[in-house]
Amino acid sequence: MPATKKKNSSKERIRLISVRPPRTRIDKNMPDFNKDPFFVKKAEEASAFLREHPLPEEILEKIRGKRKK
């Protein structure tokens, strides 16, 4: 009798469970909080910080590498 291959090892199942997003309820009426001045300002401060403190080339290459896809 041929050996059957397990579809998902326990390690693989743990990996899938740990990275699969949990079910999330969707609120269709949620305002666009990302446009709230508080978060707009936070993002602008983050951008200013990153301009003043540039990311190392090794990190930028990874970001660029993602962009090329």
Partner: protein
């Protein structure tokens, strides 16, 4: 680590989330935002956390909130970040607290979840005017999560 979390809801685009903090100061709506920073690339996001001020109808971090549920709030933010990364697996996430104490809390949570986070993200921290690989025992001023391939 299996810390209790609040239930949360997501906007349809999965880039904003909200949950209700409950405690001695009553019910406070917390908002977690992943705002795109397009100048840094298509998949670059800033993580923000604020409180919904029902009276002023705005988000801020000036609402006095000491519900004694700090760990639960942070665990919820971590779960939300996981949910976000599931929908945006190529997203880079920049994290900095609005105050030093909040950044320190993020530091502690990233350190606490470092094994789990490390499976999904490379983590970098900024300190002493430079970016370096995150180490749990070091205090950083801000953080960057890069998705692993």
């Amino acid at each position: 680590m299996n810390i209790e979390k609040y239930e949360y809801v997501s906007k349809t685009n999965h880039q904003a989330f909200s949950f209700i903090s409950s405690g001695p100061n009553g019910l406070i709506k917390k908002i977690v935002s992943f705002r795109e920073m397009k100048e840094w690339g298509k998949h670059f996001y800033n993580l923000g956390l604020g409180d919904w001020d029902e009276a002023k109808q705005i988000v801020n971090d000036q609402v006095t909130c000491n519900n004694g549920d700090r760990e639960k709030v942070l665990a919820t933010v971590a779960a939300i970040t996981l949910t976000f990364s599931g929908h945006f697996p190529e997203a880079f996430i920049y994290i900095k607290g609005s105050t030093k104490s909040r950044t320190r809390l993020y530091q502690m949570r990233i350190a606490g979840y470092y094994i789990q986070i490390g499976k999904i993200y490379e983590v970098y921290g900024f300190r002493n005017e430079r970016w370096e690989e995150f180490r749990p025992e070091i205090n950083f001023e801000s953080f960057l999560l890069l998705p692993r391939k």
